[in-house]
Subunit: 210 residues, 2 copies
């Protein structure tokens, strides 16, 4: 059979975003964060996702300023790094995932934690003023908050949407309640994932939707 479908990529984007805006509830979000939520809905195919999204009032401004200043982006999963559209980044910003660094398995064993959490410790001083995207491991988000608590470098913005059934909701609550004045974006509850995290970063990277 031959199928009847829209073949123009730009037209598909435009119609998709229009559908999302007409169906999704966005009025509980800061005005400058709605474009981020729209892109996350686009990545998930689910307009109800916005009910679970919460955003700190300074998240968008802080992340955009950091990226425009050339700050790197740290991700807890290679899939996120892979999903960030380099052409949208304002300063050809570095996108860093340390999960496959050779030191990670040893650190994880020594500390009795996950490799995702151990990988966060390798972000080091460049984490100061950076943008963080966590889309996989609650343990990575908890570890990040602990290093900040210990006086470590503070990121400019944290997209904290680890997915899962064990610790995920709790880690996002901890981020949203962080006492360090670090702006955040979360998807409350169990949902999250690399595709959502990458889509949020892609929206933060540039104001234009297309």
């Amino acid at each position: 059979p031959r199928y009847d479908y829209v073949r123009d990529g730009q037209e598909i984007y435009r119609r998709s975003f229009a559908t999302i805006r007409s169906e999704a509830r966005l009025d509980h979000l800061p005005e400058d964060a709605r474009v981020v939520a729209v892109r996350m809905v686009h990545a998930s195919g689910d307009v109800d996702l916005t009910e679970h999204i919460a955003v700190h009032p300074r998240l968008v401004a802080s992340a955009r300023a950091a990226l425009q200043g050339g700050a790197p982006i740290f991700a807890d999963a290679q899939m996120i790094a892979s999903g960030i559209t380099r052409a949208r980044l304002p300063r050809d910003n570095d996108v860093v995932c340390t999960l496959r660094d050779g030191r990670v398995p040893h650190l994880a064993r020594d500390w009795g934690t996950t490799r995702s959490a151990a990988a966060v410790s390798l972000w080091d001083e460049r984490l100061e003023g950076a943008v963080v995207a966590i889309g996989n491991a609650p343990t990575a988000l908890f570890h990040l908050l602990e290093t900040v608590a210990d006086g470590g470098p503070r990121p400019a913005a944290v997209v904290g949407i680890p997915v899962g059934f064990i610790g995920s909701a709790e880690s996002k609550n901890a981020l949203a309640e962080n006492p360090y004045d670090i702006p955040w974006l979360v998807v409350h509850g169990r949902r999250g994932g690399s595709a959502l995290a990458a889509s949020a970063v892609n929206a933060l990277a540039r104001e234009d939707e297309l």
Copy 2:
């Protein structure tokens, strides 16, 4: 603050899968496909996802046999390729995404279609007996079905879960109704995405859950 959370990666997996099995409806799926659905729920954080999953009765057997025979995996997005756990593949199978091939922009322009659809045309003869994972573009899935309709090579199994608001549901219906006897897995409706597609392939790659 210090946080109280499970730090043992294997234990997190075990508890997660146990939670999913206790909460998600799976009885509408072929028995050998339930482990695939569990892994997709794990990637999405949403037990209700299973309501939208449908699986051809021979999908799992056909995909597993193909992979064990060394067949390549074709993906429509780099994120999927990035999310496939190489250690789970039985024959160090090739994982191929042609979206960034230099010929793709020209082909897309010439044919008046998306780059995702044009990229599918480069899969070529190796597509015969391969495993396909589409997690992004409905146009890629439509194009694949059209090349099969034209007498092109037939994959052994198609994980067809493009995400979105324009053409996504229709492309998955077309796959599930394909008259070519190609086994399929779909998430009906708008939902889908690279993370789900990668998780499905990771489950198909090996019978063991951990």
